[in-house]
Amino acid sequence: MNDPLPWLILFLPLLAAVLIALFLQGKPRLSALVSVGAVVVSFILSLDLLAQFLGGAMLSAKFNWLRVGHLTIDFALRFDALSLLMVLIVTGVGAVIHIYSVGYMKGDPGYPRFFGCMSLFTFSMLGVVLSGNFFQMFIFWELVGVCSYLLIGFWHRRPAAADAAKKAFLTNRLGDFGFFTGIILVWSMAGTMDFIRVREEMMRNPELFDAAATGVGLLIFCGAVGKSAQFPLHVWLPDAMEGPTPVSALIHAATMVAAGVYMICRVFFIFNVPALQIIAWIGGLTALMAGLIAVQQDDIKRILAYSTLSQLGYMVMAVGLGEPPAAMFHLGTHAFFKALLFLAAGSVIHGMSHEQDIWKMGRLKERMPLTFWTFLAGALALCGLWPFSGFFSKDAILALACEKSPTLFAVGIFVAFLTTFYMFRLILVVFFNRSKSDAAGHAHESPLIMVVPLFVLAAASIFGGFFGIEQFLAPQFAPAPEAASFFIKAAGFGFAAFAAGAVTAFALYFKAQSDPLPAQMQWTCGLLRHKFYFDEIYAELIDLTQESLAKAANALDFVLKLVIRALHGTAELTGRALRLAQTGNLQTYTLLFAAGIAVVLYFMLLH
């Protein structure tokens, strides 16, 4: 099918990136225009595609990309409910963030570079979403990793940013090796990498992966662990906040980290029961751990980063519990409110002249009312208060957990409590309590081009729950039995958690000038402040491995050199020894000659 529409959606952002890289380096305004224009047009085109899809049109596009042996690999775009939803999120939320960046990044010397990278990122992300096979997905998957590398390290003169970029890329790559191996195993065993055909093969032959089924599933899941920053590879995401705030919103809230969740939804059919169980527990564990850590962070972006981790944990848990639509639902609403929270936080940071410590802020409600109200809307959506969008999606996941696993349900409820607690802590300290620095006194509301996007996202965060994303997706997956009574139970518990969290936060932080918790719970808070010491432990481990490997390599080379020296030495010694015989003295030669004759005669006569 040669419909140009799908290709346009994918390649417009790439075109923008190429144009900016080659021709628009010195033209900030034009580069922003091209970049924003590309993503907005992509969004409009995807709306058109959605209309076609709802009208019953079957869309796909592909061409033959590579022939290996007797096998071929296609480059295929795939449009179904799942990918369309994701395309809309990426281009829609992406467009809003692009527009916001026009204001936020104003005056930065790397302005065109920034927009070039953003466009490239949008392209890569769309590539992941639209991929019709594993191979193609992996290609774009890695490109997403590179784009995040470029954007996190955007302020490259700051060593911390360069470190964070490297860390993000390498941590992701670690997970990707699992993904890579998993893909190769799938290709070897199923003989194809096409999603639909792998699924057909598995249906035809349920024993396809045999004993390796769990392993294959978990290897594929490794990719998601890296990209969606699940335990134990979660360490890169908080550091990635070194990038400019719109980057945090785009990559580390709304889209890139969503790629992992999207991927495991896309290939959901490949996971068997044990693999799903492990996935669910990893998700639950991540949600819990990140929620705990967020309670004791002081950097406004880091709090949001850990809350992202925690919410991603929910989504992964939902997939593990066998319900991808619920995960995608939460992914969608989360994209709205987390992008909103990050952009609002960016607005705060912008107003505070790049201060990020919440204890240096205060009373910003008066100085930045628009930012405050939109932030509040995002926060309430994140906490899952009815009727904000987060309520519906979180409730769906909690109901699911309630039905499948009581332990995970308890974890989910506790995390909901934590979420409310740290978000109210943030709001109280930043927007209400007395200001603690000059910067807070001089804070100013952000320009319109930054505030309008906030309103758009706030509207989506408030009403996003009513669209029935889950129902839209459900036909693609096996229909799940509805259990309305559990919804009520889950909602009840959820509300209790919300109330408890809010009350605790008020009790502790209303009018607080500093954090009272560390004094009361020294040991626990230390543990949380240091993020359970993951970074330190990993650094130690890496140093140890690196050092021992390097030492081993050096030792090996040294031994080999010794062996070669020995060979060399033997040859040289032999030569020198023989040289002694060459005296140039005729008498010596005669003597030796005579001795030789004597020896020969001796042997000839006596034997």
């Binding site: 990309w65 590579l66 022939r67 290996v68 042996g69 007797h70 096998l71 191979f135 992996f138 290609i139 774009f140 998957w141 890695e142 490109l143 590179v146 390290g153 490259h156 003169r157 060593p159 940013a161 360069a162 470190d163 490297k166 890329f169 390498l170 790559r173 670690l174 090796f177 890579f180 191996t181 190769i184 195993l185 290709w187 070897s188 003989g191 690196q546 490997l549 390097a550 030492k551 081993a552 390599a553 050096n554 090996l556 080379d557 080999l560 050199k561 070669i564």
Partner: protein, 516 residues
């Protein structure tokens, strides 16, 4: 089939060009232009051969056969299949690139450029000859110019490095020569294709034993294995395979940038090429018997060279070790295809994938590694001889284009999808994982370490604060940009459309995979 002896022409052009460049002594600019023109001309011929290549069939094309000394089994026999053609094109691409990298090289410029051309002729000859006799001449012919290029224009420790390089490779060559003389004594054949046919029928081992067996070599297997090792050693040193690699870091490091580019880009491929063209078809049984130790060595090559690169503090040495690492994936792929798996059908698909991957990797690594050495050469030139990892920093601010292009090259080297390095590595792993899972799994460690040290280079050299002494650092000049433009374009093109190479590689890979 075709009347124009295109492969002979290809080899003669650099030889004649080199001679002319030498004769124009005293006028270094003229001789440089002659040399560069000759290299461009051979590139054009190689491109023509590429364009006319019939990718529908395996086996050698552009065959030329002339009786030379029939009584001795010596024949002038040329021909290229997809593998040979890939290597010819790679050498033809790298020679002008390497010349541009050494454009302003110091004294005796005409000799330098003539030697590069002789080296190129040696490469062409090696990749096209199908009879051992003149193949071996070319094989050695590549060595001598390389020795002088290192010895005369190299860094401060050049003499030692050049001697080490020469003696080491020569030792390998001698072993190979002896082995081939044994083969000749047993069969009276020097022709690769005929030897391979004999080997396929199982006649090679028995012929060897019938002729040379006796009191010393008690069994057929021992004798064949000894001969196998002789040939193997020659290739293992050249590629190199650990533990035969110790000559490489100093040779690559001491050689001038242009020479390093040719050494790593094309000469290291001679070893891999030999393994594919000669060792696999002639000694499949021995390779199969040795598979486990060989695979272990390949894995060690991959992992240890990556770790060694991580431990280096000299950019050039890092790139040299990373080169060993990348060639290691080729070796891994080759050693894995001899394994027998239970399922014949998928086994042959995996073999084809691995061999395709090996060929792609050979070409793409040649391109990327040469570009990396080019960049390191530029850094060294601008840094007044400094090339330590910690000598620089923040250069991105003053040299954004430099940083961008070198960044692309580094990412290509670490196998980023969308750039040229990825597809080859992917296919190698795709083939090796089902054939020898443990080896593939262990080798992924090498991939990870590679990513670490390549990103470390990018970070240490280009990010962070800019030291004041480098504030006058020049970004790429327009000449340098022009030099790099085709290379960069190729990296992107081959990354996005690998089918361009696969078209030629696939028939050759399929033919090779049928050996097993």
């Amino acid at each position: 089939m075709n009347t124009i002896p295109i492969l002979s022409i290809l080899t003669v052009i650099p030889l004649a060009g080199g001679g002319a460049a030498l004769l124009a002594s005293g006028q270094s600019k003229t001789s440089r232009s002659i040399a560069f023109g000759a290299s461009l001309l051979s590139l054009a011929v190689a491109a023509a051969a590429w364009a006319m290549f019939d990718s529908g069939r395996g086996g050698a094309q552009y065959v030329e056969r002339l009786a030379w000394a029939p009584s001795l089994g010596i024949e002038y026999h040329l021909g290229v299949d997809g593998l040979g053609l890939l290597m010819v094109l790679l050498s033809a691409l790298l020679a002008p690139f390497a010349m541009l990298a050494s454009w302003e090289i110091g004294p005796n410029r005409n000799l330098y450029f003539a030697l590069i051309l002789f080296l190129e002729a040696g490469l062409f000859g090696t990749f096209t000859a199908l009879n051992f006799f003149h193949w071996f001449i070319y094989w050695e012919m590549g060595l001598i110019p390389a020795f002088f290029l290192i010895k005369l224009w190299g860094g401060p420790r050049r003499t030692r490095a050049a001697n080490q390089f020469l003696i080491y490779t020569l030792a390998g060559s001698v072993a190979m020569l002896l082995a081939f003389l044994a083969l000749y004594a047993a069969t009276g054949l020097f022709d690769f294709e005929e030897l391979a046919r004999l080997a396929r029928n199982g006649g090679l081992d028995s012929a060897l034993f019938a002729k040379l067996g006796g009191s010393f070599f008690k069994s057929r297997e021992t004798l064949a294995t000894v001969v196998f090792f002789g040939v193997f050693l020659g290739f293992a040193v050249k590629a190199p395979l650990m533990p035969f690699h110790t000559w490489l870091p100093s040779a690559y490091t001491e050689a001038p940038a242009g020479t390093s580019m040719l050494l790593t880009g094309a000469m290291s491929k001679m070893g891999v090429y030999g393994l594919l063209r000669i060792l696999l078809p002639l000694f499949p049984g021995q390779m199969r018997a040795m598979q486990t130790p060989l695979l272990c060595l390949a894995v060690a090559t991959i992992v240890f060279s990556a770790a060694a690169a991580l431990a280096q503090r000299d950019l050039k040495r890092m790139v040299a070790y990373s080169s060993i690492n990348h060639v290691g994936y080729c070796l891994l792929g080759i050693f894995a295809v001899v394994r027998i798996t239970g399922d014949a059908g998928t086994g042959s698909a995996d073999r084809a994938a691995a061999l395709n991957g090996v060929m792609l990797q050979m070409f793409n690594h040649g391109l990327t590694a040469a570009a990396l050495f080019y960049f390191v050469g530029l850094i060294e030139m601008r840094g007044g001889g400094l090339r330590g990892l910690d000598d620089f920093g923040g250069l991105r601010k003053v040299a954004p284009v430099f940083c961008g292009l070198m960044g692309i090259t580094l990412f290509a080297s670490l196998g980023l999808p969308g750039l040229n390095g990825f597809v080859g590595e992917f296919l190698i792993f795709k083939g090796v994982l089902p054939l020898a899972g443990w080896a593939a799994a262990a080798s992924t460690l090498g991939l990870l370490i590679t990513a670490i040290f390549l990103l470390t280079i990018l970070q240490r050299v280009f990010s962070g604060p800019l030291p004041s002494r480098w504030s006058g650092w020049k970004d790429l000049t327009s000449g340098e940009r022009l030099t790099l433009a085709p290379v960069m374009a190729l990296m992107l093109l081959l990354g996005t459309c690998p089918q361009i190479l696969m078209r030629v590689a696939n028939p050759a890979a399929l033919a090779l995979s049928k050996l097993f």
